[in-house]
């Protein structure tokens, strides 16, 4: 765990640094992938930028609204953004809504757009894994295994390293199918289902799980739901493409006749 890195007079917050680097590297790769495929990268960059800004502002506003009386007593502190005064979940939700709204407004095709953003998601996931390793969040349960790390007063599963390695594997899988011909949305769904499968497996070794009745881990149920939804969607989108191809073939035959 190394949450702060002192560089001269500056204290760099390492977890945030990894998140930003992962996100920026991902957006850069998405941009170059769009250019390679002859797609205008500007709407994609705008979508990413707008979502990030909306997410940040939304996270801050949601926190302020939650403690409105406190902030109204000192209104200037509303603009003093601190990572500890953000409602992260609401921020993510607002970022997603903004991305969908912008995509609909600009008539961006859903499946190819998701395919193009897959490297952004994949590299952000690696950044997130490294970020948790730096912050000590998403920590593992106590274990005697030889590769355990000492964290929060116990030898624990290095779940942050498991997540990072799995996210790297998912990114490598994306790299191997980057240039091949696939149906639209396939690359995104492969990444999504791989990530969900990894989360389902690795969550078993977490020490900070939210537990439901019978000690069932909430994170695993969500991961399984996402995995099954991703597989179902894969079939739907794949079948759609098959029908479209069959339809095109019929059209071609009809024209030829």
């Amino acid at each position: 765990m190394f949450p702060l890195l002192q560089i001269g007079p500056f204290a760099l917050r390492v977890p945030g640094f990894f998140l930003v680097v992962g996100l920026m590297a991902g957006i850069t790769l998405t941009e170059s992938e769009a250019k390679r495929q002859g797609v205008d990268p500007n709407p994609l960059n705008n979508l990413a930028l707008l979502s990030m800004v909306a997410g940040l502002v939304g996270a801050r506003l949601a926190y302020v609204i939650r403690y409105l009386d406190t902030f109204l007593a000192n209104p200037f502190t509303i603009f003093s953004i601190n990572p500890n005064t953000l409602d992260v979940r609401t921020g993510i939700l607002i970022a997603l809504i903004t991305a969908v709204a912008y995509g609909v407004w600009k008539k961006l095709p859903l499946r190819p757009t998701l395919d193009l953003f897959t490297p952004t998601f994949a590299l952000f996931a690696i950044g997130l894994g490294l970020s948790t390793l730096a912050s000590g969040n998403a920590y593992g349960s106590p274990t005697d295994l030889p590769w355990a790390i000492y964290l929060w007063d116990a030898n624990r599963h290095p779940t942050q390293i498991y997540y990072t390695l799995w996210a790297t594997f998912a990114f490598i899988v994306w790299l191997t199918m980057r240039k091949g011909e696939t149906f639209a949305g396939f690359r995104f769904l492969v990444w999504l289902t791989l990530t969900a499968a990894g989360a389902l497996f690795i969550a078993a070794f977490r020490g900070d799980s939210v537990l439901l009745a019978g000690g069932v881990r909430q994170g695993q149920l969500i991961a399984l739901a996402v995995l099954l939804f991703g597989l179902w969607l894969m079939r739907q989108w794949g079948r759609g493409d098959e029908s479209a191809e069959a339809g095109e073939d019929a059209d071609v035959e009809a024209v030829a006749a």
């Binding site: 406190t70 078993a204 399984l224 079939r235």
Partner: protein
Amino acid sequence: MHKLEHAVQTGRHWGLFVGAVAILGLVWIWLSAMPVAGNALTESPRPDFLAPDFTLVNLEGESVTLSDLRGKVVMVNLWASWCPPCRAEMPAIEAVYQANKDKGLEVLAVNTTYQDSPNGAAQFASEYNLTFPILLDLDGAVSKRYQLRALPTTFFIDKQGVISAVVPGGPMSESLIQSKIADLLAEEF
């Protein structure tokens, strides 16, 4: 990957595959279910853990023990008199303390005396008219136990002695502090 794509498009055995994934997933969830008792709280300086206990002397030489304050919301603020953000946030901490001490808020301002001095701490408290206890971490044991990496660092502890938030660095505004303690003060003990 082409085989997977082909299987998806033809749908051959796809339902079987998805069903097997669902069953295996549920079995894994069941196997890895955690006994609720296994989630018992231990001491560590991070949210959702019990705050590590300590006993330190204040400027008057009296001992103060953290665990004696169960039932109160406690802010443990680690600071030094030469640290600019520590100086900047102390008036905000004092203001919040004055507004909430009757509602059950306690502030323990732990001076990192091993890298400061008792006189420096006393002068600082006098200069800012601080009314909460100033504790002296003479040998740095508490700073080490709390894995201090930035000055100031503040731990917000609920009435059960569990850390609810950690704010490394500063200065904290009054709004930030108030927002961190508001929910804790409203909790039942």
